[in-house]
């Protein structure tokens, strides 16, 4: 097995097994296997957020966070997941005639946000209503935060959707949004920002839920199948930890040696 770099064999096995499982369940899902995904309260709250804005005649604030550009391995996928979710929220907004203001401080994500918005308007049969000014760009973190704070007080959005990769700004946005009485939905896979989102948002997508959110609201059997696959691999890891734990009680470390291959 000298083909694979030493110390990365188990990573390779893990990846192959994970992909195989995801794919298998996607296939089974397509084949009619019944998969029920637990409702994520944050996703279930989206109609409430939109409804509130429609009732108050106020806009919705949305941001995918600042944490990184698309080719950033930790943050990029979060931004992408957030943009998927935005598409869904925006369609709800268009149906109810609510304006959504997207604060996007990541320049390489601008084309994606713009395309997603255009497609949402097109899908709802109102392509002419798309307005480029719905996308607000600021370069860098603190200017983006300053613009957000100004926007909160001047426009008083009814709901704030903060889903994506965040850094220090999450607690400020959350608290400042709370101060104007906005209904807030947060979400991030950045562990360092989770406590603040939990403290300041009404609902929150934690870690994996951020990536799974799009799948849970879709009725696409492929998407649901992959979620099932995730659960199966979680069980595998639970078993691995349980066995390792029992061995550990007897101070046996052979499993650790295998995992380090």
């Amino acid at each position: 097995m000298a083909v694979i770099v030493a110390g990365r064999l188990m990573a390779f096995v893990l990846m192959v097994v994970a992909f195989a499982l995801f794919y298998l369940f996607m296939y089974l899902g397509k084949g009619g296997m019944k998969i029920k995904v637990r409702t994520l309260p944050a996703m279930a709250a989206i109609p409430e957020a939109v409804g509130r804005a429609a009732e108050m005649g106020k806009p919705i604030y949305y941001t995918p966070g600042i944490a990184g550009n698309l080719n950033d391995p930790t943050q990029g996928p979060q931004v992408l997941a957030s943009i998927s979710i935005m598409g869904y929220i925006l369609r709800e907004c268009i149906k109810s005639g609510v304006r959504l203001d997207a604060f996007v401080p990541i320049q390489d994500a601008l084309p994606l946000v713009e395309e997603t918005m255009r497609m949402a308007f097109l899908a709802e049969g109102k392509p002419d209503e798309f307005d480029l000014d719905m996308i607000h760009f600021q370069s860098e973190q603190s200017p983006y935060l300053s613009a957000t704070l100004g926007y909160f007080q001047r426009q008083r959005p009814a709901s704030n959707i903060l889903i994506g990769g965040f850094y220090y700004e999450s607690v400020i946005m959350g608290e400042a949004g709370n101060a104007i009485g906005a209904f807030q939905i947060g979400g991030t896979a950045n562990t360092h920002q989770m406590p603040f989102m939990v403290a300041t948002c009404d609902y929150m997508l934690l870690s994996e839920e951020l990536y799974a959110a799009g799948a849970t609201i879709s009725e696409d059997p492929h998407m649901l199948g992959s979620i099932k696959g995730e659960d199966i691999i979680k069980f595998a890891f639970l078993a691995l930890i349980a066995v390792g734990f029992l061995l550990g009680l007897g101070r046996i470390t052979s499993l650790i040696d295998i995992l380090r291959m």
């Binding site: 990184g68 550009n69 080719n71 930790t74 850094y167 101060a179 360092h192």
Partner: protein
Amino acid sequence: MSGESILVKLQKIDRRYLYWILFIGLAIPFIRPIGLPIAVTPSTLSLYNELKTLQPGDVVLLNEAFGVGGIPECMPATAASTKIILRQGAKLIFVSPYVDYQILWARLQELVPDFAQKEYGKDYVFLGFYAGLEAAVAQLGANIRTVFPTDAYGTPLDQIEMMKNVNSARDIRLVLSGDTGDWCDYYIRQWHTNYGTPVGEIGIAMLGSSYMPHYRAGVLFGMSVGSRGGAEMEKLIGEPGSATVTMDSINVSHLLVIAAVILANIGMLSARGKGGK
């Protein structure tokens, strides 16, 4: 029922009063220092111990991934570590992915008088700024010269004495990452995983929690957490500095936070006791 209304009010004090009290509370210790003792935590001690094992000629990469805002948190421990590195006779490479890098470098030189006894290009080198997040860190590990063909002053690396035999992560004894974000992760993934380079962290306090599992797992050889870590490093090298002074303000602010939490809970519990919810 005025008593109850005070209790209810305790639960919803206008934020602005809290902010005023906090800002004033933080400022006072700078005028009248208190000076409480500080204990050294194990993760800081590991960092110190590992730096003390440096041999003359070892090359250390110092990655300063914080802006000017991060100076109060990260700079004290960085300065103390740099003193140890230079005193051990090791060589230092300074890089930074932040646009404030020149200010950081100037500040570090101000805080570390040892630079005056060392020679640029022989004992330390200022490579400067690099962009591109984790991808750049990966490239830096594979080949330093693709990211930095020259140092920050435009001298080609091949003409710099200490860089002649330094090409990739393999030639670097250890990495110290000072950061406010994910940079330590990048070095763990791209340098420690790929080349086995030891990585030490000088992070802001909140990174203490996220990197603790890495420290426990032995991925990080040591970790200084926030200005507290800075104060501990200052204590370890026996040279109290700015972090030691800041600790007083920290004390005051923590007491204020606890006081606010207690008030809110008294208000809530009493209101509940009286049938409120």
